[in-house]
Amino acid sequence: MTAGTGTGTGTGSGTGTPTRGAPPARAPRPRSALRRRRVTATAAIALVALVVGLVALGLGDYPLSPIEVLRALGGTQGPASTIVLGWRLPRVLAALVFGAALGASGAVFQSLTRNPLGSPDVIGFSTGAYTGAIVVIVSGATSTVGTAAGALVGGLGTALVVYLLAWRGGVQGLRLIIVGIGVTAVLHSVNSWLLLRAQAEVALTASFWGAGTLALVSWSELVPAAALLALLGVAVAVLSRPLRQLELGDDAARSHGLRTEPARLALVVVGVALTAVVTASTGPIVFVALAAPQLARRLVRSAGVPLGAAALAGALLLLVADVVAQHVTTSPVPVGLVTLVIGGAYLVSLLVEESRRSS
């Protein structure tokens, strides 16, 4: 195989880099093989999520077989129908939808910052949302709408602060992450201070919300949140091309006709909104946004962080975490605790890898 004049003249000169050229054994693969692999891997993640979802619908104090679950979903009346449709389905759907939103949000930020650490929970948006919620709860409002609004404002406000502090004629990935980690630390102490000053009961409510749980999600909360997330999903799809351009570096992206700063700002806003809507509904569920995109990237072997596959991986991760939270321990724990434990281990390994790479 002649791999072009470049390889031809370079091989004999002895000045080659270790990764020079394509070895002759590597026959040109048809383009479709690569694409098929990616489609297959993405579909596999979706399928596994679906199967785990069916199993999860059958788990609980009143166990149901997958057949019974399917029958209930198909519209057969009976006690199984009430259990599946009324109680368990909203929670399973919430895990899938919210997980997908977190995965997509993480993919947007990791791609923007070109760093696997660049995730909305690491750079403070979840913590900021929690701060917003605590402020609302402490000030005496008890409605979920109030809490959700507080979380939204807190998350978006934190994003704005981080973005402005990191701005220096444009925003660069690593600076965004470092500023975000700093802001997160400040917000953590603000949160502790607010909880310490609050009355015991109020603090308990806030802490419960702050652990991140899907236990409180019912149809009435799920439907509006899911509708909002669907809209944001469309926005992410529209912005995926600009995002792919930004991956090439600003000079290349701009020479391709992309207005980079408006595109980046739009992506930040959509990414924050995805996380904020989820956080407003469930409390901060950390590490799904951090881990899902990298999991998807490794499975799909895509160029950069795959948005769709990251969303599917997020759905699967949060669903599995919620099943663990409900059924593996003797008494149910908030899913946020489970993702914290799994994700904490992952974050440590990521930091170790990162520090090895940079040293």
Binding site: G4, T5, G6, L34, V238, G249, S255
Partner: protein
């Protein structure tokens, strides 16, 4: 490479076909970064169909001028014109269908294949509802053939050598199908054989009608390939014209502080700068 269709904008002041209008021009342009002024008032232009090479010592502002032409840097005052129109007023995608750039530094996302990266050069030809088309496929295939990368189309860019990788970025710019191509130090970091491979590729594009503008360090290469030279020093244009007229020993000594003789290149007859031995104290 197909020649570009003239834009269908009515009332456009000048078209590339009109003789005398430069493709790109800086008019009393003040070029500066945040706090650092590079050129206080620079005038320079690129003839249609030329192979223009900008040369000058380090930090003379040659890359800055190219960045202004590439729309990466907006002049503080004065203007930068594309085909007689104020470049800043041309919609970004439209400008990107006319002027392509090989940036000095760019990043390839991990795991991206040659074909995928080159396809991203089609961005200015695509819209929200006009996504991947037959024209895109043809442009990408043409760019891959031009750069001799057809066999590597499915190889991840990370696995390529430096010379191959640079050709992939060239192909990405070619897929953009622009009639003007800007090259920011395209041969840096390449060994000499790869440098001339690439320059020959650009010369071929130029012969087929593309207006090429390059920033180069090597004066012999500049003299060989350029039809027009722009010589810069301290943010100002010192001389312009054909290499044979411009590149004299006197000019090189004045611009680069390098005592030298200029002899005809034994292969091409173009000016070849040969440094004199310098005093040890210099």
């Amino acid at each position: 490479m197909t020649t570009p269709q003239p834009p269908a904008t009515p009332g456009q002041p000048a078209t590339p076909g009109q003789p005398g209008t430069p493709r790109l021009a800086a008019r009393a342009a003040h070029l500066a970064y945040d706090r650092r002024t590079v050129s206080r008032s620079i005038d320079a232009s690129v003839r249609d169909g030329s192979f223009t090479v900008i040369v000058g010592p380090n930090a003379c502002g040659k890359s800055t001028l190219l960045r202004a032409f590439a729309r990466l840097l907006k002049p503080r005052s004065g203007s930068v014109l594309l085909d007689g129109r104020e470049l800043a007023g041309v919609p970004a995608k439209e400008a990107a269908r006319t002027v392509g750039l090989l940036p000095q530094s760019s990043t390839a996302p991990e795991g991206i294949t040659v074909g995928e990266l080159v396809a991203r050069g089609r961005y200015p030809h695509q819209g929200l509802f006009r996504q991947w088309s037959e024209a895109d496929r043809e442009a990408v295939d043409g760019a891959l053939a031009e750069t001799d990368l057809v066999d590597l189309v499915d190889v991840p860019v990370d696995e390529l050598s430096g010379g191959q990788r640079q050709r992939v970025w060239v192909a990405t710019a070619l897929a953009q199908q622009t009639s003007v191509l800007l090259l920011d130090e395209p041969t840096t970091f390449l060994d000499i054989a790869h440098q001339y491979d690439l320059l020959d590729l650009f010369a071929g594009l130029h012969e087929r009608g593309t207006t090429v503008v390059a920033v180069l360090h090597d004066l012999a290469q500049a003299a060989r390939y350029a039809t027009d030279l722009i010589v810069m020093r301290d943010g100002e244009v010192v001389a312009t014209g054909a290499p044979a007229d411009v590149l004299t020993a006197e000019l090189v000594e004045r611009v680069f502080d390098l005592p030298c003789v200029v002899v005809p290149d034994p292969v091409t007859g173009t000016p070849l700068v040969v440094p004199r031995r310098r005093r040890p104290s210099a």
